[in-house]
């Protein structure tokens, strides 16, 4: 493994960690918040609802793979 791929791997592990789906869901939820806000619809509630759901899904995946 060369230096660059080790560097990339380190940052991937550091920020994304074991479950990359969490990052995908977080990006989708933030995108949906931005869409609602751009349409002048109250959007603050979306992330507090989405995060426990994402956490629950990720925990189920971790337990299944353990």
């Amino acid at each position: 493994m060369n230096w660059l791929s080790r560097f990339g791997h380190f940052w991937w592990e550091f920020v994304i960690g074991d479950d990359w789906l969490v990052a995908v869901f977080v990006v989708i939820a933030i995108g949906a918040t931005a869409v609602l806000a751009a349409a002048s619809i109250a959007a603050w509630w979306l992330l507090p609802l989405a995060v426990p759901l994402v956490l629950w899904l990720s925990l189920r995946r971790a337990i299944r793979s353990a």
Binding site: V22, A43, V51, P52, L59, I63, A66
Partner: protein, 253 residues
């Protein structure tokens, strides 16, 4: 001090404290097994590298527009925080082994004692590298937290003050006891840090995406309470599920 600022200092203190406890364990193991000169040399070199990272990245972050910064930093903290929270919930519910600083210290010490001796310029390179790598990796997490928290809240010095207080406390206790800081409630601290990182991540990423929080900064308290409540409920739920699983396995055996 505003709600957001108080949270900022507390979060930086707790998150940095957890990382410093882990770094002290590695430096102690390297020092006791390979000599203090090498271990402290590694600690010093890593500190210099981390200081350079802060000096280069810190001012660069302050020129990015606040809304864009909060969006990116919030998203990063949310992903990062959910990682911490997930591990903390798995530990608290019994699905993952608890973090044991004594066991980690014993393992590091045994590895360091059995490694070959290679001395250059009066420095044992195994001890130097072990301390350097440990402090650099744990320190990078501290730098990440201080820079992201500080820049998104508009005060890197406040976040740095929280981290410095944690450093002084952990290093002071480490020097005094010269043993791994096993009595620090590390698992509980990691749980609290996961809750705080996730809270800030939700708050800033929503704000960066254009949402307005009812009550402005005071909404942080509500988000914090909500994330903590959900996390405790998940721990209870998974703990019960784990107990049922173990009981079923016992009955079958």
């Amino acid at each position: 001090m505003k709600t957001g600022d108080a949270f900022l200092v507390l979060s930086a203190f707790l998150a940095s404290g957890v990382e410093f406890v882990e770094a002290v364990t590695i430096v102690l193991a390297a020092g006791l097994a390979r000599g203090w000169r090498s271990s402290l040399g590694g600690l010093g070199a890593a500190t210099v590298v981390l200081a350079v990272v802060v000096v280069v990245l810190g001012p660069a972050l302050t020129v990015i527009p606040l809304r864009g910064l909060r969006l990116v930093v919030g998203a990063l903290l949310l992903v990062f925080g959910l990682q911490w929270l997930r591990k903390a919930i798995l530990r608290a519910s019994g699905y993952k082994a608890l973090h044991d600083e004594d066991a980690i210290f014993a393992r590091e010490l045994a590895d360091a004692q059995s490694a070959a001796h290679l001395e250059r310029a009066g420095v044992d390179w195994y001890g130097f590298t072990l301390a350097f790598k440990g402090v650099l990796l744990e320190g990078l997490e501290v730098v990440f937290i201080v820079l992201t928290f500080g820049s998104a809240q508009g005060s890197i010095p406040l976040a740095a003050a929280g981290a410095t207080a944690a450093l002084v406390l952990v290093a002071g206790v480490g020097v005094a006891v010269r043993a791994p800081l096993a009595r620090v409630p590390e698992n509980a601290m990691k749980f609290a840090v996961g809750v705080m990182l996730t809270t800030f991540g939700i708050f800033w990423s929503a704000e960066g995406a254009g949402a307005d929080w009812p009550g402005s900064d005071a909404a942080l308290l509500g988000v914090l309470g909500w994330v903590a409540l959900c996390s405790f409920l998940l721990v209870r739920l998974l703990r019960r599920e784990r107990r049922t699983q173990l009981r079923t396995a016992e009955v079958r055996a």
